[in-house]
């Protein structure tokens, strides 16, 4: 039983990892491409309304006659901006706080740990909704900032737990005794050791951030066109889902392919980082 469990997914893990990489790569290429070229001008009324897929419009047009494929491609770029932006902000704040908490002595550590527990309990989406609503005009930047801050508590808590484990090892004690500075220990021992596990979590957070931003946009709290995210496209296409299904299907498929790609990629990273976990969903 164990032999089967251990060997079968191991082979599987390597090809699922490649699928993940390919899906993410596709979105990166498409996203970069939209900076220089899109099939049509974004936002331009280019054809009949709600027309089905054709050679001219591979994914059809929406209710204003805009090319769905163009909008979806721009959505790739927006989603990558959201993911990279939110994860960068979350990682910068979270890792810093987590490491400080890990090095802190008894009561300070307790206080920081309790604070992180408190912050994690907050419903991310609700806070993000409020922050976005609080800003004068809904923009992508505020959504990214809100999601990044929300995500930083999760990163900080994980960093603290992982870093504490490293700090308690003998080699860190040896480094301390031999006079290494606080920063040197962080740079040479803590960060390299916690990075494998941390990077997997950051990849998962990327997917969650993309979905959260799409939800905000779907609820009407996202950036307006022509820089609309997939969530906004889906909201606009919802009313015509039956007469023009492509407008509601293609943006959704794009979103799912990116989040699945990131998740598979994260699973692969985890298997690479920790052979013992191979075969766990």
């Amino acid at each position: 039983m164990t032999a089967v469990v251990a060997s079968a997914p191991r082979r599987g893990a390597s090809w699922t990892w490649r699928i993940g990489l390919a899906l993410v790569g596709l979105h990166v290429v498409v996203g970069l491409l939209t900076l220089v070229w899109t099939p049509y001008d974004p936002g331009a009324m280019t054809g009949g309304r709600l027309s089905p897929p054709s050679l001219a419009h591979w994914a059809g047009t929406d209710r204003l006659g805009r090319d769905v494929l163009t909008e979806v491609m721009i959505g790739s770029r927006i989603a990558l901006q959201v993911g990279i932006g939110a994860v960068s902000i979350g990682a910068a704040i979270g890792i810093t706080i987590g490491i400080i908490a890990a090095f802190a002595t008894r009561w300070r550590d307790d206080a920081l740990a309790a604070t992180l527990d408190i912050l994690i309990a907050f419903p991310t989406l609700l806070i993000a909704m409020l922050v976005v609503a609080a800003s004068e005009q809904a923009s992508l930047g505020t959504a990214i900032l809100a999601l990044g801050i929300a995500l930083s508590a999760v990163v900080a808590r994980l960093t603290r737990i992982l870093a504490k484990r490293v700090i308690q090892t003998d080699y860190v004690t040896a480094a301390r005794v031999s006079g290494s500075s606080w920063l040197a220990i962080v740079r040479e021992h803590v960060l390299p050791n916690i990075w494998p596990t941390l990077s997997v979590n950051l990849a998962l957070q990327f997917g969650l951030a993309v979905i959260a931003e799409a939800s905000l946009s779907y609820l009407g709290l996202g950036a307006p066109p022509p820089n609309a995210s997939w969530g906004r496209l889906l909201q606009e296409a919802q009313g015509t889902v039956y007469s023009a299904p492509f407008g509601a299907i293609v943006p959704g498929l794009a979103l799912v392919s990116l989040t699945i790609g990131v998740n598979l990629f994260a699973d692969g990273l985890r298997d690479l980082a920790d052979p013992l976990r191979r075969g766990r969903g």
Binding site: Y218, G231, G281
Partner: protein
């Protein structure tokens, strides 16, 4: 155990206090004075001053904050700027949609996820074990609102089995209609939550399957299903229960989004409308109540976890 509950209660109270600070700060960041929402465009300075005095936004921040916290503690959220109705009554009203949606969605999800997760682990080498894992991969990558749109297209528009949205005006006075109105939203939320739960159940079952005690039980002659039920369930349940709280909170947030897909008059649509209308008392009330619920769920899940796993009570593994 008692000391843990005391400690956890303290964290709960502190969390609520932090929630109050966050809410207070964010609401003060909202553009313009809240008093503006009470007034028309051509209000005179005297009217503005009167409105500010009525709301209390002419007081120093510390006084405002103290008032804010005491009124939250008394569940007094004031009255809506727009409808002039008490906020708490409106929330209770909306809860008659959101609470059944969340709870039913959650229970259906657990009913789907537990057997699927166990099968996916126990039969990982069969095609259906693998198929379940693929289902869960898709499920966690799908935004709940998109699944809702697709289910509406199929079940409501194509097959006309369920209504595409809306809720009977009389609410639960017509239990049949209300239940039918919630069927598709419940299914939507349940599928998404089930997909992520399956992963935990599967991982937990895999741990149980490779455990020494299960091997020992088998060596002593217990048949595989019997050994799994007798020894596996309680051990396997611990990590799953720890995520159930998070999943229930996620279900609530999913419900908030799904209400928009199905045009349901729940807490989520109340919040969205309040944000659009800059109806601060309503925004504040909904956010505080939903945060309170999420925090209470986390509290209950942590306590429950210690009840079913005695090991956690004695070790210092509180965090």
């Amino acid at each position: 155990m008692a000391s843990y509950i005391a400690r956890r209660s303290l964290i709960l109270v502190l969390s609520l206090f932090v929630a109050a600070i966050v809410l207070f700060a964010l609401l003060r960041l909202l553009p313009g004075d809240p008093a503006n929402a009470l007034l028309g465009v051509g209000a005179t300075p005297e009217q503005i001053a009167a409105a500010r005095a009525q709301i209390g936004s002419d007081q120093p921040l510390t006084v405002q904050f103290a008032r804010f916290v005491t009124s939250l503690a008394r569940f007094d959220f004031g009255t809506s700027f727009v409808s002039k109705a008490p906020v708490l009554g409106e929330i209770a009203n909306r809860m008659s949609v959101t609470a059944p949606l969340t709870l039913a969605g959650f229970f259906v999800a657990v009913i789907i996820a537990v057997p699927l997760g166990i099968v996916a682990a126990a039969r990982a080498d069969r095609w259906y074990g693998a198929a379940i894992s693929v289902f869960s991969q898709f499920g966690i990558a799908i935004p709940v609102f998109w699944l809702g749109i697709l289910l509406v297209a199929l079940f409501a528009i194509r097959w006309r089995i369920f209504p595409s949205g809306g809720f009977p005006l009389k609410g639960w006075e017509r239990p049949g209609e209300a239940a039918v109105a919630l069927a598709l939203p419940v299914l939507t939320v349940a599928l998404v939550i089930a997909a992520s739960l399956v992963r935990y159940v599967r991982a937990s079952t895999l741990d149980v399957l490779s455990s020494d005690y299960l091997r020992t039980a088998r060596a002593l002659g217990a048949r595989f299903p019997e050994a799994l039920v007798r020894h596996g369930i309680r051990n396997g349940a611990v990590p799953v229960v720890s995520v159930l709280g998070i999943e229930l909170a996620t279900t609530l947030l999913g419900a908030v989004v799904v209400e928009r897909v199905f045009a349901l008059p729940g807490l989520g649509s109340m919040l969205l409308l309040a944000i659009q209308q800059r109806d601060y008392p309503n925004v504040q009330g909904v956010l505080f109540v939903s945060t309170l619920i999420v925090l209470l769920i986390g509290f209950a899940a942590d306590i429950l976890q210690r009840f079913i796993d005695p090991r956690l009570r004695t070790t210092g593994a509180d965090r």
